[in-house]
Structure formats: C-alpha cells, structure tokens
Amino acid sequence: MPHKAAGRQPHLLYVAWGFPPCRGGGVYRALATANTFAEAGWEVTVLTAPRETFLNYTGADIALEAQIDPRIKIERVPFSWPSLETDIRKYSWLRVHFPRVWRRLRKQADVLRFPEPAYGPWRPTLAAAARRIHQQRPIDLVVATANPAVAFVPAAVLHGVGVPYVLDYRDAWSLDVFSGDRVHAPNSRVGRWESRLIKDAREIWFVNEPIRAWHQQAYSGAANRMFVVSNGWDTAPEFGFRAASPEPVFGYLGTVSPKVPLAELVEGWRLARKGNPAISNAKLDIRGYLGFYGTPRPELQAIVDGALDDGLKFGGSVPKTEVGNLYATWDVLLLVLGSGRYVTSGKVFEYLATGLPIVSVHDPGNAATDVLRGYPSWFPAASLAPADIAAALSAAMQAAQAHDEARFAAGRQFAEQYRRDRQLLPRIAELRAGIAT
C-alpha cells in the first residue's frame, strides 16, 4: 500500500555508502542531497557505513561532518572490508598461507548475495536496517545513491511495502563511463537487478546528459522518469578579485586516479616552462590524494617525485572547509580528468564558482566540456599531447596576468546556474508533490 505523507513531515530514507567523514568524490553530492531535503522540510534519515570504514580504509575528511544538517538522523550499520583489512591479527590461516586462493574465494563470496565485489555482503545488513527504520517511523521516500550499487537494496526492499524510491546513479552501473562500453550484459545478474530496479523507480537521476541518454536508450520504458541532476557547487568562495602573483601558482585539487592524465600534465608543464618565460617561475601545486586510498599509488608518487625540480609541489589532502582558502592562493586552476564522453567530475563546478582562469587537461569530448563552454576564462587543451597542454597553460598564464575584476565577476555570474540547490530543488518539489497526493 503506498505511503502518504499528507498532513505530516515526510520521512526520507537516504542511502549512501559514502557519507561524511568519507572523503570520496561523491560524498559532496550525498551531503548536499541530504542537507537540501532537510532544508526543504523533510525528516531525513541517512543509512550509511561506520565512520571507521573511512578513517581506516579510504581516508577521511573529519571537517565534513560539521556540515551535516543537525536535523538529519544518521544510522551507521556495520560494513566489513576484508580485502582492505590491515590488522594482521584478523587474517585467517588461509589468507596468510595461500593469499591468492583466499583472494579468489573472497571475490566469489562477495558476490553471493549481491553482484558487486567487495560491497555485496552488505546487502542483508542494509535490508534489515531499512525494515527496522521503516517500522520505527514510516518512510515516505527512499533516495539511494550509487556507487556502490548495493545501496539500492533498501529501495527494493521497501518498495515491497509500497514505498516509492529514487535511484541516484550519479555515474553508471552497467556503463563504463571512461570507455563507453557496456560492462554488464542485460541478462547478467547485474543486468537483471538493474532492469528490475529501474522498472519500479519513481525517478532515476544521472549527473550528465550523455549518461542519461545512454540509459534512456538501454531502458526505453523508463526514459521519461530519467533526469539529469547535475552536480553543482555548494559554498560560494569568500575571496574576491586579486591580481596575479609575481610567482603564479597553477593548482589542481582532487583525487588523482590512475585515469587522470598526470604524466601528460607534467610533460606539458615542462614544455610550457621551457617555452614561456612567464611560466618558468610559476609553481604547479597538486593537492588531494594520489589514488583512491590513503596510501599513495607508487606509480603516481613516482611521477610527482620526478617533477619536484620542475616547480611541482604535492601537498596532500585539504579539508573541505579549507578549500576556499586554498583557491584564494592560486592564480590558475587545472581541471585534469580521465577521458570519456560520460565523465564530468564534481570538481568542475567548484572551479567555476571561483571565477579564476581554468585550464582543461582532458579529452575535448569529455562531458565536462559542455559545462565549461561559455565560461569566460576557460583554456582547453586541444588534446593530451604535451604541446597542446603547454599551449593551454601559456594562454591561461597570459589571461591570469591580464585578469581583471570584470572578467572575474563574469566568471562567477556564469557559475550561478550551477549552484547545487538549483539542481536539486526542482526534483525535491516534484517528489514532495508526488507523495502527498
């Protein structure tokens, strides 16, 4: 029987594995979604993983927790991640003596209950928690966000008792956003889960139009329930216009995944320094993580170490609350992304909100190009060839030196359309109307 929230505050169950203090890219969207629902008058319960998961395995940004709306109730349910466990006391005899066999068996065990390596075993815990929360205080809507896709499980469970749900895909499950290939066949376990979930969803959200279009084609019956809920920027930067520094700083902030063309950036940077005297005394400041986990990936660390004499500096991660101060010290922002027409990145919106010159170092066919087109201080590299990257860096250098208050203000004005709440509020209003009638 469908649940009606008429006459009382509607109750949202928001399911996200990565929630503060998680420091992963998707966490800002998760935090903003929960906060915006709370701000819009919903009672919000967040179902997520324990803090220790992020403190021990992925790296954490403790400062993010302070940004959670105090009206939100957080339910943290146990999540174990054996393959990333580092406490050797917890290792089994089999793991120690036959690590390869252990890994293979672990992988098989992971997908027994849900077809998703590493996260699959979370399914029964999530399902039980969703039922318990619904029993304690009836839920009117579930918004579940991937990845991991196991977060969709509570939506399926509560749909059985009439609760509508929204799938916030962010990226994709069956589509590899970098290669554009379908990674799970329609008749695979993932394909069958996805098909069922999409069929019954009230709405399905994606971060950009190319990803939505791919899914509309793959699941045409649900095409009219698929929406783009773009990422956006959350907090307006507090700094104002300033002229370029005598020793300009080009900055990159974010997770340097193996897909990020870091080596190409460094090559282009070296070339630009050789060919352009204005850049020869500039600095390249990289902040964030080298890889997805707390421990830097050795091959990325090697690239950074090899360029220290070329003005590159790697400063590690930055708490979200300090990001604005960091941007205030930079003169040019570098948007360095993996290739793929389906790739946007959340960082592009934060960059836009600064009003500073932005250099794009990514495939021009990348979905981020659509976001940046029209920004007054945008300098895209024509390709990932070092010469093209160097040319874009030089053009941005020139623009940074000529940057004035009017151009700075025009950049910030352009960014207004990408304020986070502007992406979410129309959908929240629609959902509110839907469950009240």
Binding site: N56, T86, D87, I88, R89, Y91, V96, H97, F98, P99, R100, Y293, G294, T295
Partner: protein, 140 residues
C-alpha cells in the same frame, strides 16, 4: 598508548624513503628496528643512524616451476615468505626484538606470514600490514 618500540619486517627490497616515512611518525625517543634479508636492505646491519637493522642473510633464490610451481612454492619451505619466518625464528636477537615490540609492521606481502606467526606468539603488539596503517597507529 602510542607505540614506542616499532619493528618493521620486509621480505622484499626496502627503500630509505619507506624507513624515513615510518621514522617521521615516531614519537621522540622511540626505537625503530628493521628485519629483512641482507641483500634487500638499504643499509648494512647494525645500528644505522636512528634505527637498528637485523640482517637475516641473503634470500635464497629459487627456480620457478611454471604454473604448477606456484602452489608448490607456497607450501615449499624455500618460498621467500617461509624463508623469512624461518630465519627470524632462528635469529635470536631479531626474534627478541620482534617479541618486545609494541608495533610490528609488515612492509610487504612476503612479510605477512612472519608477522602473522609473531601475532600467534605474543598478544601484546599491534601488527599491521603497510606503512599507512602503521602511521595511523603511531598517531594514536
């Protein structure tokens, strides 16, 4: 309590950078010891600067037997991981240092077996795999 007697074990090559990273996490006055194969260590045995090195002789290289040999090597006492544990067991001062440690760090996959055996002998120390979790332990 912050560990102040740390033993790092390595079954493969160790770099100076790894040791320095670990050392930077130590509280003042703490002791860092390294146990590993002589030919794969970055320094000679003995007291080296701020840390102590226990060398267990050279790793005996073995011939691989193809795919079938992977399983055999795991069981065979000559596998690097087993050699490492056997050498530690028979090196009295290295064993004593490991048993007296507050924190044992397995620096690589080969050293996990030895660290695990040490965890069976002594319940006191924390035993972790990798430098990052070791630094978290050291940070308290």
């Amino acid at each position: 309590m912050t560990p102040d007697n740390v033993v790092a074990i390595a079954g493969g090559p160790v770099s100076h950078e790894q040791l320095l990273t670990l050392k930077e996490g130590l509280a003042p006055g703490s002791v860092l010891s390294l146990i590993g194969f002589e030919d794969l260590l970055p320094t000679a045995a003995g007291e080296v600067g701020d840390f102590y090195v226990f060398a267990l002789g050279s790793l005996t290289r073995s011939v691989r037997f193809g795919m079938l040999g992977i399983l055999a090597l795991r069981i065979w006492p000559g596998s690097p991981a087993r050699q490492l544990w056997r050498r530690i067991r028979h090196h009295q001062s290295a064993l004593a240092a490991a048993e007296a440690a507050d924190l044992i760090v397995a620096l690589d996959a080969r050293s996990v077996l030895a660290a695990w055996h040490l965890s069976q002998r002594n319940s006191a120390p924390a035993i972790v795999q990798g430098i990052a979790p070791a630094l978290r332990k050291l940070a308290g």
